[in-house]
Each structure stands twice: as C-alpha cells, then as structure tokens.
C-alpha cells in the first residue's frame, strides 16, 4: 500500500512541478518522464504484491470529507486493474513524449499535466473504498480525459467529439450518483465494505443494477450507449487513444464488477441483460468496425466489440454466481478479467502503431495507404502481432482469454437450466461470429495498410519512427506473446481477482482443472512452432538447388497494372457488409460505401432534438434583467419553505 501512496505522491508532485515549469519545455518534459517511470514502477510493485499475496490492504486518511472519509485500499480485483493501468500508462506515456516531441506550436506541459491527472484519477477509481472518493475520482477522470481528447482543439470535429464525450460521461455519472446514494441510504454508510455487509431487497437490486449498467455502460461503451466512443478515440492523439481505449473504458467494467461484489444477489434477468449486451456489443462493434475507412475509428469500434466479449464473460459469471455454481462463476469472471488485461495490451499496441502510421504518412484513411510494411518495418510487424492477438487466434494472448470465456459458456450449457442453456448457446455462437468477423476486419486493415502497394501516397520518402516510439510497442507485443505462450501467471492472477468478486476459496484442484488444459494448448502450440520451423528449414534447403525468379505480380494477362487497381479495404469488406446490410444501414453510393450509425441517427439524435426544442421554449424566462433572476431565487426559496412546512 505504501508503494501506491508514494506513487500517487510522485504523480501529484510532478503535476505541480510541471505546472510551474510550463514555460520550459525541456524541464517539464524531463519531469514528466521521470515521474512517469517512478510512479509506474511503484504502482506495478503494489499491484503485483497484492496479486501474489492475495491479502487486501487498506489506507485511511485522517481527513473528514463531506459524506464520508478518505478511504482507499487494494484488493485482488483493484490490483488486477491497477496492473493493466500502470503497464499501459507507462508505455503509452513514453511513446507520447516521443510522438509529440516535434510539435513546437503547443504547450506540451499542459498535456502532460492532464495525462498525469488521468493517471492519478484512474488509480484512485480502482483504489477507492468509499463512494464519494470513487465519484470524485470518476469526475476527475472524465474532465482530465476531456482535455486530453481535445488536444487538437482548433479542429471543429475534435471539439464536437469532446463535447459529445462530456455530455455522455456526465449523463452516466448522474446515474452513478443516484445509484450510490440509494445504496448508501440503504446501507447507512458510503464505505464499500459496509455496503457489502448489508442485504439489499430484490426490488432495489434490480434498479441498482440497471442504473449501474447505464452509468458504467456509458463509460465502457455498451451498445447503444457507445455513441461518444467512435468520435472521441480518433480525435485524440494516438497515445491518448491507447490509454482511453485500453484502460479508461475498462473503468466501466471495473465499476460493474465492484457493484456485483457489493450487492452479490441479483434477480436472474440481470445476467440475461449482461449476456444480451455482450452479444449485441460484440457483434455490433465488429460489424461497424468492418464498415470504417479510418484506422483509428475502426480500432475504436473494436473496443466496443471487446467490451462485448468481456460482458459475455461477466454475464455467464454472474449467472453461475446466481445458480451457486462456483466453477462457472470463477471461469466467467476470470475470462472477463483476463480479457480486460489482454485488451489493454493489444489495443494499446494497435493504437500506438496506428499513431506511428499516421505520424509518418499524415493520414489514417486506409484506402489511401498501402505497402507500408517495407517502409515502416517495426510498426508493421508490431501491428501484425496486435492484429493476430485481437482476433483471438492461437499463439497470442487474445486466444487465452477468449478460451476462458468459451469454457465458461460451454460449462454453462452443461450445468444450468433451460433458459441459461439457450443464452450460453447464443453466447457461443456470438463469440464464434465475432472471431470470424474480427479476422476479416484485421486482414482488411493490415492488408490494405501494410501490404500490396501504396494506393495514393508516395511511400518512398517514409522512414521508421524513432526508437522511443517503437520500444514501447515492442514491449506490448512481447507481453502479447508472453501471455499467449506462457499464460499461467496471468491466468492465476485473473483467477485470484475473480475469486475476490465471488468470495470462494479457489481450491488447487479447481485451479488445476482450469489451468491444465491451457498447458496442453501450449504443448500443441509448441508442436506447431516446431512444425513451422521444420517446414521452413526444408524449404530453405531445397531453395538452394532450385531457381528463384523475381517478377511483377501476375495480372491474369493484363500487362500494365497500376496501384489504383488493387482491391481496396472498402471492397474487401463489401461482401460481408452486404449480408448484414439491413441491420446496419449499409449503402454504396458514388463508389464509396457508407455505414449508418443506427443508435446515433435513430435514437439519440431525435431525443436530443426534442430536448433542444423544449429547452428553446424555456428561453422566455431568460430575459437578462438581474431583478427577474432575484425574483426567481426568491420564488424558489418560498417554494422550498412551503415544501418543508407541508
């Protein structure tokens, strides 16, 4: 715990120092890097020590706040999220420093200050043990991330995206306030520990769960509450997108898990709701991603897809918890948690490498790029590792967590009653479809950006970005491979965190039955690697004796192919989108395809238009005379007085 407090102290000190030295670029930059490294290492230590010892630690500050006390602590669940936060913030921060180094127009120390503030607020969100501390940290997270998103504020689209984010986030926070106040009123305290000791009546738990799903779901990006996400992520600088998508939206997941931990017993439809959200967000997210032509927007939709997979794991875990099936609950939660970590790693990697592409070519339009693998080798190969990981293919980390979610769903089919079987089956189908579509989407993205020839940009002058940018990406890719081939450490951490949501003793036998199949997976993968090595060797040797020629790509008889004749990303995705065209409003006009964001266009836009219309009507009370406003205050006070008397 002391490590975590030192880490917070370092960050806070750095915020003040950077604010003071804002005029001196060099100094504030060095302070940023130094404090980032210090704080991350300290945070990492505290997270790992809690995960290994599995002993929660608490810290009270002798400082009374309105409505509660300053009470923070780490249990396995918080520590697991803290692990993802520190790793990604550390690497994205170093990348961001190099990414912005050549930007001489802007005051970078302001940006760095908000980066640190976001770091502090995320640590506080996962460490908070009191609802007031939690909500304050939550609010600080929203505001600091708003300033990070609007870094390029001179563009109108960026300002709009930031504004949309701010509205959406505050609408969600409103639900959270109501939820926590209801919980506090019932439990008699706003401390999480006291809350978890009191039993909530059935009617209230349903309401609390819905409020939680809306409030946390806005942040997490559940469809249909996701509309801010595809606007905000592309608007931000890439390292900020990585952090937002990698860990900030996961705070919604953390909140839901904390809610489940506190309340424990829900009506059954809550699990159905989570599974449905998982299916819709997962499939919807990846379908929308297929329809995007801008790399960061595509990645943003993939965050929604992965949040869907996490929600599937949580839903089946919750169902297991309600049926008192500890095994299913444990695997479901562990799968969801491990996917949280894995997604932070590979999505961070993908956003950073997308940023590297954009920094080199000054565009993120997939259909203008091509053939970059030869010019940006580091970026390209690291993007490839991220792409295979996110598709959940074996050898990399995405497979391990999706495997756990699959396992929970299959076990659910065996142990549950009819209705649960139907939903577990639907979950399996959805997960299989997500896998196939994600593979299509990332072959499209990687193929169009890095393979073939450039479609309209001159590649010849491009050169790889500095090593300060490539090194963080390489570390993230290393973690992808490490978790993919040696999953035991992270799986046992995830199991530990999962058993803190649903307090059971993880017996070594249960943990063994979860981990030993994964070990066999690793054995098969090692055989696969050996097979690849043998086949490569055979080919290499024989190539020495055979003729090898270089020539143009065969054009099926056409002798003057040009680069513009290549298959584009839009046409690649067309055949899939046509199958789903009615669900997602897909249309092709004037040679370019377009996908309608159904939730935005048909749900939120009309609602906001009605709100705008009604609030315009309210303008008549705003006349501009101070006397009138005083009168309003007086009338309102009178009203309150009468209310009190009656």
């Amino acid at each position: 715990m002391t490590f975590l407090l030192y880490s917070l102290a370092v960050l806070t000190g750095a915020v003040f120092l950077m604010a003071l030295t804002a005029r001196f670029r060099r100094i504030s930059g060095n302070i940023f890097l130094f404090s980032l490294v210090m704080a991350s290492v300290l945070g990492l230590f505290s997270a790992i020590s809690v995960l290994v010892s599995r002993a929660p630690v608490d810290y009270h500050l002798n400082f009374r706040m309105p409505l509660g006390e300053f009470f923070i602590g780490l249990d396995s669940l918080s520590a697991f999220f803290l692990l993802a936060i520190t790793v990604l913030f550390f690497l994205a921060g170093i990348y961001g420093y190099a990414y912005l180094k050549d930007d001489h127009k802007r005051n970078l120390s302001v940006h760095f200050v908000f980066y640190h503030l976001l770091f502090i607020s995320l640590i506080l969100v996962v460490a908070a043990k009191n609802a007031v501390v939690f909500l304050m940290a939550w609010e600080m997270m929203t505001i600091s991330s708003y300033f990070l998103i609007t870094f390029y504020h001179e563009q109108k689209s960026v300002r709009d995206a930031g504004y949309l984010y701010l509205i959406a986030a505050h609408a969600g926070t409103f639900c959270l306030w109501v939820m926590f106040l209801l919980m506090g009123q019932h439990a008699g305290s706003l401390n999480f520990d006291q809350m978890s000791m009191s039993a909530f009546p059935d009617t209230l738990t349903g309401l609390l769960f819905v409020l939680g799903v809306i409030g946390f779901g806005v942040k997490a990006g559940f469809i249909p509450l996701h509309i801010w996400l595809p606007h905000a992520h592309p608007a931000a600088p890439s390292h900020v997108s990585a952090v937002l998508s990698g860990v900030m939206i996961k705070m919604g997941i953390y909140g839901l898990m904390r809610l489940i931990l506190i309340i424990k017993i829900f009506p059954e439809w809550c699990a159905v709701l989570l599974l449905l959200i998982g299916i819709i967000s997962g499939v919807g997210g990846v379908l929308y991603a297929l329809g995007q032509h801008e790399i960061k927007k595509l990645l943003a939709y993939h965050s929604i897809e992965n949040i869907g997979i996490i929600a599937l794991g949580m839903g089946i875990g919750l169902w297991g918890q309600l049926y008192h099936n500890e095994f299913v609950a444990l695997i479901g939660y562990a799968g969801a948690l491990l996917h949280v970590f894995n997604h932070a790693i590979f999505k961070g990697l993908l956003f950073l490498s997308a940023g590297s592409v954009i920094r080199s070519t000054h565009t993120g339009e997939i259909d203008r790029l091509g053939g970059l693998l030869k010019y940006l080798p580091w970026t390209g190969h690291l993007f490839l590792i991220g792409a295979i990981s996110i598709c959940g293919l074996p050898l990399f980390n995405g497979f391990v967590s999706e495997w756990l979610v699959f396992r929970a769903l299959f076990e659910g089919m065996f142990h549950f009653k009819m209705n649960a079987i139907v939903f577990s089956g639907a979950g399996i189908i959805a997960l299989a479809l997500i896998g196939g579509l994600a593979a299509a989407c990332f072959t499209k993205a990687f193929g169009a950006i890095f393979l073939g020839n450039s479609r309209s940009i001159d590649n010849s002058h491009l050169k790889e970005n500095p090593w300060e940018m490539c090194a963080p990406m390489a570390v993230l890719a290393g973690i992808c491979v490490w978790v993919g081939l040696f999953p035991f450490t992270m799986v046992s951490f995830a199991l530990g965190a999962a058993s803190s949501i649903y307090p059971i003793k993880t017996s070594p036998i249960a943990a063994g039955t979860i981990i030993s199949p994964l070990l066999m997976v690793v054995v098969v993968l090692l055989i696969l690697i050996m097979a690849i090595a043998v086949l490569t060797l055979l080919k290499r040797i024989s190539m020495k004796f055979l003729a090898i020629e270089k020539s143009l790509t065969w054009g099926c008889g056409y002798s003057h192919p040009t680069n513009r004749m290549q298959y584009t990303a839009s046409s690649f995705a067309d055949s899939i989108l046509r199958i789903f065209r009615t669900v997602m409003g897909y249309s092709v006009a004037k040679g370019s395809s377009h996908v309608v964001e159904v939730c935005e266009e048909f749900i939120f836009r009309p609602v906001f238009q009605v709100i705008k219309f009604l609030s315009a009507k309210l303008k008549i009370i705003q006349c501009g005379y101070t006397q009138w406003y005083l009168l309003y205050i007086f009338v309102f006070l009178l009203f309150l007085l009468i209310w009190k008397m009656v």
């Binding site: 399996i428 479809l433 593979a439 193929g447 997976v521 097979a531 690849i532 003729a547 090898i548 899939i576």
Partner: protein, 328 residues
C-alpha cells in the same frame, strides 16, 4: 512469478511431464499417417468424377505426382510481396497438420486430448486462413484481393455453423473434448438424438464442402479468375509454396472429413482393427460422395453461397433445438 505458480499448482507440472514422455511417438505416427494418406482422398474424388462422366481419368495417385512435381520446381516471387507471402503456406500447412493431432483416426487414438481442444482446433484453422488471406493481399493483385474477401466472408459463416455443430455434439455427449465427443457414446446417442445428429451431419457436410473449396461452393478446376474463391487466392504462388498449399488443402479435407466419418459411424466399441476398417471405409464413402456431388451439380452463383451457408446454419440451429428439447 512462475515459481509462485509452480508452488501453487505443482500437480499441473507433474501431469505435463508424465504426458510429454508418452507423447512423442504417437504424435509422429499420427502425423505420418496423415501426411501419407491425405492426398489419396483427392485421387478418389477425381477417379469418381471421371467414372461418372464416362472417362478413364487420371490415375488414383495423381495428386501425389502433382505435389511431387511442384517440389521439384523453382519459385517466382512478385516484387511487391514481403516475407508474409512466403510464410503463409508454411503456417497454413503446419496449422492443419497439427490440428490432425487432436482427431482420432480409426484405431489410432488422438495423441493429444484435453478439455476444450475443439476451440484450439477451430483456432488453428482460423490461423491458417488468416495467413492465407494476408498472403493474397500481399501480392497487391485485385483478383487475389477479391478471392481473399470472399474467403473471409464465407469463413465467417462456416465458423458459426461449425460451432453450432460442436454445440450439438457436446450436448449429446456432455463433453467438450473432440475424441470423446466423436466416439464417447455415439452408438447409444443415435437412439436418443438421431434426428439432431443427422441434421448436424448434413450441415457439417455443407461446411466441409465450403471449407475445402468443393462444388457447389467453389470449383477447384475452374478457369475464370472472376468466379474463383480459393484458387484465385493462390494465383501467384508457385513451386514449394504451391506444393505446401495443395498438401495443406488435402490434409484439411482429410481431417475435416474424418470428423464427419467419426461422428456418423459409431465404431468405438469395436476392436482397433475393425475401427480402422470402418474408418477407412467411411473415408472412402465420403470421398465417393463428394465426387458424386461434384459430378451432378454445377457451381452456385457467388451471391447464392451465403444463402447456402445460412441454410446450413438453420439446419444446425434446428438440430440444437431438437437436442435441447430432448434433453429437457
């Protein structure tokens, strides 16, 4: 940290060491059988087609000659391509080869059996497909991009049908282990879940045809690039690369076909010799059946193929419902 895990779950590591000692020879034997026998299926299919259309046809061992010939040829590489173009056939062949280790072949038990191996089975095919699609895009040719796009589209649908079939099998056998699913209690389950198994068999047969580029989904002998699916993706491959790809697709047909044979012919109670005989007979009938389908059908129009696969999806879905209603 690994040490912590070691101390927490030492049993896991002990099991692994036991397993690895016994694993080596069965693995090599299995791989050998698959490598030797798989091109034979293509030969039988070709011979069947020739007989039904009144020709003598190529010899039964023609696929072996074709692959052997390619192994003696040099390569032509496009200047556009990167290492991915050359690595993809290797990854593809290795993945389908390793996937055969999870599949029992007649009297030959699967050398590697563990909970949830079907997920790895599907994952390995996903990896192979991912590599081939990237290799097609690597050439920068519009034809190959077109083939890659079609492959990605159809595989999304086939993967879903495949998992539905797995759900049926796991509901019937209450297992999620490939070997136990296909042989666990297939004979007894035929009485209980016969209709579901038949529905599963039909939908899986359609998946098999689609995954292996057979008529009516794709015509392996077509000569028009615009209508091809799998063939057009490998237009630029030559020599060893093409040999690996052809070999890989032969093994894929063999492994996916043996799953169907294993399910439909419940032979687990027989002696290993009889099991092998039943299995070989089943494989022969399967390749004969594919040959018959290819002889009496034309290739479907491209925009009809999703409908065919969605038809397979519906069949499998009905199968799941049947299983669930019986089970409840």
């Amino acid at each position: 940290m690994v040490f912590t895990v070691y101390f927490c779950f030492p049993s896991v590591f002990v099991n692994l060491e036991d397993g690895l000692d016994k694993m080596g020879i069965p693995v090599l034997l299995h791989l050998g059988v698959v490598l030797v026998l798989s091109p034979l299926l293509l030969g039988i299919i070709g011979k069947t087609k020739a007989c039904l259309t009144g020709r003598i046809g190529a010899p039964l061992l023609q696929p072996y000659y074709d692959i052997g010939k390619l192994f003696r040829k040099g390569n032509v590489y496009s200047t556009t391509t990167t290492w991915i173009f050359q690595a993809a056939p290797i990854v593809c062949l290795a993945a389908v080869l390793v996937s055969s280790l999870l599949m029992p072949l007649g009297g030959l038990k699967a050398p590697i059996v563990f909970w949830g191996d079907i997920l790895l089975f599907a994952g390995l095919y996903g990896l192979a497909r991912f590599a081939m699609v990237l290799a097609a895009l690597d050439t920068g040719s519009s034809f190959e991009g077109m083939g890659a796009s079609r492959e990605a589209t159809f595989s999304c649908l086939t993967e879903v049908v495949l998992f539905l079939d797995f759900i049926i099998l796991s509901c019937v056998s209450k297992k999620i282990v490939l070997s136990e699913m296909v042989q666990g209690n297939a004979l007894t389950s035929w009485h209980l879940a016969g209709p579901a198994l038949i529905l599963m068999g039909v939908s899986y047969f359609l998946v098999l045809l689609a995954e292996n580029a057979r008529i009516p989904v794709d015509d392996p002998a077509t000569h028009l690039e615009l209508t091809m699916v799998h063939e057009v993706m490998v237009l630029d491959h030559s020599g060893w690369d093409l040999a690996y790809i052809l070999y890989g697709s032969a093994i894929k047909l063999f492994v996916l076909g043996s799953l169907l044979v294993n399910i439909l012919i419940p032979s687990y109670h027989l002696s290993p010799f009889m099991q092998t005989m039943m299995f070989s007979g089943g494989m022969f009938v399967l390749s004969f059946g594919i040959g018959v389908v290819e002889s009496c059908m034309a290739r479907l129009r491209l925009n009809r193929i999703p409908q065919l696969l969605i038809g397979a999806f519906v069949l499998a879905l009905v199968g799941v419902l049947v299983v669930l209603l019986k089970g409840a």
